[in-house]
């Protein structure tokens, strides 16, 4: 290992990098102090890049633990975070599932851990391509969840996430998810920000005393996690997690604003990002990389005179109920595209269920057409997305539902099954 220097200087530069490398640069820009990692496709190059940074002395003082499993990744990160350090890891699919028990330990301890997920399908059969079922199955673990649509957004969202998670009113862990391969393994120009600017945006690293609520310090011995009787505060602790998560919405909005002020890039209000919804007849709620191509589809159709728009969902947790209601008041019909499954649920798609729940009993809001698309990395073409938008228009105008609906949900792009 190269001797680390105290002042690694990252000046602002634009480089053409893979989405995973963008995540690694963000962790470096955030000056994370403890990294723990285990390889899994399509995340692995994140932690490979970080190895390179650490080995070349570009992350002075950073401890990099190469553990033997994802369960151990999260266990080690939790302990390191409890001891008052900024931590980072990345995983995907099976690795995230293997971590599951520990996810609750992180949120239950109110730790501001940031973890990127290069989302992939769940086995069997083995599938390593984009599918958000992995991260969405962790919906109720007390982790916040953000989706990214671009390479730049990965870098930016990780920085924003540290600021949100470490806010003393929030203190919760967060996933930053993006589609495996589609973003993780393709290359685009990404602006890596000037280190001083990043330092001025982020909260300072935890001081010697650690986080306000949790620490390991022989001078202030404390014990964490003892058994608590039903008459104790377990119930109240749970309520507090929900409360913090809901209140995090305002923080997310504020951080997105701060971010735009300092770095000049806009991500809507942080929770959602509308695209050409003004004067739209119908809209599409969509998240992750599919949202990026949908913007193109909207542009193309707008040029052809169709009044369509879309809403990029940036956060699943906390769920932007208010934004969804507001948008659903603007148009009579919203499609909701899930690149994920929620088997046996009311719609079969996790986000369409959430959207329907948010709108339930709110008068004058849009009808919802749940859609599933692109599972396991199945290609979703621009043409296909344009057809989806046109289908919404037709449904809105004629009430005619598309063929091949399955229990009220459109599973678009299925192969013919004989």
């Amino acid at each position: 290992m190269v001797e680390a220097t105290n002042d690694f200087v990252q000046e602002k530069e634009t480089i053409v990098i893979k989405g995973n490398v963008s995540a690694a640069y963000a962790a470096k820009s955030a000056r994370v102090q403890v990294i723990s990692a285990y390889p899994i496709t399509p995340q692995t190059t994140v932690v490979e890049k970080l190895s390179e940074f650490v080995d070349n002395g570009l992350m002075p003082g950073t401890q990099y633990i190469k553990v033997e499993s994802e369960h151990s990744v999260m266990a080690s990160i939790i302990a390191a975070s409890k001891a008052g350090t900024r931590t980072f890891t990345a995983t995907a699919g099976q690795g995230l599932f293997y971590m599951f028990e520990m996810l609750h330990w992180a949120s239950g301890s109110r730790l501001p851990i940031v973890t990127t997920i290069a989302s992939r399908g769940a086995a069997p059969p083995w599938n390593i391509w984009a599918d958000f079922t992995d991260v969405i199955s962790c919906r109720d673990t007390g982790w916040m969840t953000a989706f990214c649509a671009t390479h730049q957004e990965i870098y930016d969202e990780i920085l924003m996430s540290y600021k949100i998670c470490e806010d003393s009113d929030v203190l919760l862990p967060k996933f930053v998810a993006y589609g495996g391969f589609i973003l993780s393994h393709t290359s685009k120009p990404v602006i890596i920000e000037d280190q001083d600017l990043v330092d001025s945006f982020l909260p300072p690293l935890p001081d010697e005393k650690g986080w306000p609520h949790i620490w390991f310090d022989p001078e202030r011995p404390l014990m964490f996690g003892n058994l608590i009787m039903p008459s104790g505060f377990y119930y109240e602790f749970r309520m507090k997690i929900h409360d913090a998560m809901v209140r995090a919405k305002e923080k997310i909005k504020r951080v997105a604003k701060d971010f735009e002020k300092i770095f000049g890039r806009n991500y809507g209000n942080g929770l959602t990002q509308e695209y050409k919804m003004d004067g739209a007849d119908v809209g599409m709620v969509i998240y992750g990389d599919l949202a990026l191509q949908m913007e193109q589809a909207v542009d193309d159709l707008r040029e052809e005179g169709y009044k369509v728009g879309m809403i990029k969902l940036r956060h699943l947790r906390p769920f932007p109920v208010e934004d969804i209601i507001e948008i659903a008041k603007k148009v009579p019909l919203l499609g909701v595209v899930d690149r994920a499954t929620a088997f046996g649920s009311p719609t079969g798609g996790p986000v369409s269920c959430e959207v329907k729940t948010a709108l339930h009993e709110v008068k004058g809001t849009a009808r919802i057409l749940p859609m599933i698309n692109g599972l396991g990395g199945r290609e979703v073409t621009l043409e296909q997305q344009k057809v989806q938008l046109k289908m919404l228009i037709k449904l809105n105008e004629t009430g005619e539902l598309p063929k091949d609906m399955l229990y009220g949900t459109l599973w678009d792009g299925l192969l013919e099954v004989k």
Partner: protein
């Protein structure tokens, strides 16, 4: 060997306080109290699911007077790795403070060590992560009601081996030594000074240290509370539990076990087994087999020691 007086004087302070909810005569409590006397206050402890997790006190009462965290059952060694890494990075940012002197300690049961936690422990040992991992071995899952673990000895009755366990006890200290970590030691709660010394030594060594303590459990073993020192002492006297250290690969028998290389110095195994209800279903035939296995184990140790000597 430290003198009793010296040990007591240097550690009048108790770190694991009275008022905890251990059963009377609990071996784990004795083990932790003495370990903490040796390690002192700059120690942070990780405790995976186990009796210890519970006996430390129901929230908000806590018996440990030092930093202590509960942890998921399988996660102790990995958590300790993370904690020790955090202390190192804090030492980098705040040099000259306590962070460079912190000892990270795991105190885990035999189930948490030899079964569900073995993957994480093996990983940490191979990485030579800097902490002391201590397994207090009461030879079953006591917290959940005395089920067998892979550290339960042959013949022992548990709630999941109602006729006595068929398989043999997993030899975890030797498995740990096979990871080529700098320090492995075995202890018994009946020998607190030996235990004290071994923890002192472990604290002075950088890297992954493993200490395996035989810790009596009156309800789990079917013994009287007042016998909880006498029974593990018999385990040592019969040679059934061998006290040793393996330092950088080199085996040394500890004071109480060394004389037992001479078979005539060993008390017959039955003296240890017959005092415990858990062994009440062992037949005479099995008893003879067990004695033979034990004698063979000692012959192998004698061979290993002479091989080591020849090499020098």
């Amino acid at each position: 060997m430290v003198k009793l007086k010296e040990a007591l004087e240097s550690c009048l302070e108790e770190f694991f306080l009275p008022g905890n909810s251990c059963c009377a005569g609990c071996g784990l409590e004795i083990a932790l109290r003495w370990a903490m006397k040796a390690l002192g206050p700059n120690t942070a402890l990780v405790s995976p699911a186990s009796c210890l997790n519970v006996v430390v006190g129901l929230w908000p009462k806590t018996a440990p007077n030092f930093p202590f965290t509960n942890m998921a059952f399988a996660a102790a060694a990995a958590a300790a790795t993370g904690m020790s890494a955090a202390f190192k990075t804090k030492d980098y940012r705040f040099p000259g403070k306590v962070w460079g002197e912190m000892t990270t300690l795991v105190f885990a049961g035999d189930g948490g060590t030899t079964d569900i936690g073995i993957q994480g422990l093996s990983g940490a040992a191979e990485r030579n992560s800097d902490f002391i991992y201590c397994c207090y071995d009461n030879e079953a899952y006591m917290n959940t009601g005395i089920q067998r673990s892979s550290s339960t000895p042959h013949g022992a009755i548990t709630t999941t081996t109602t006729l006595g366990k068929e398989r043999y006890k997993k030899n975890l200290p030797r498995i740990m030594a096979a990871h080529e970590i700098p320090y492995v030691a075995t202890c018994s709660v009946s020998e607190p000074l030996d235990l004290y010394e071994k923890f002192k030594k472990a604290k002075s060594i950088e890297g992954c240290k493993y200490i395996h303590i035989l810790a009596s459990c009156p309800p789990g073993w079917g013994i009287a509370s007042e016998d909880s020192i006498e029974i593990p002492r018999l385990a040592v006297k019969t040679g059934s539990w061998i006290l040793y250290e393996i330092e950088n690969g080199e085996l040394t028998l500890s004071k109480k076990s060394k004389p037992l290389l001479d078979p005539t110095k060993r008390a017959p195994l039955i003296e240890y087994l017959s005092r415990q209800k858990r062994f009440s279903k062992i037949s005479e035939k099995v008893l003879i087999e067990l004695q033979e296995r034990l004698d063979l184990q000692w012959s192998k140790i004698a061979d290993e020691l002479s091989c080591q000597e020849n090499h020098h």
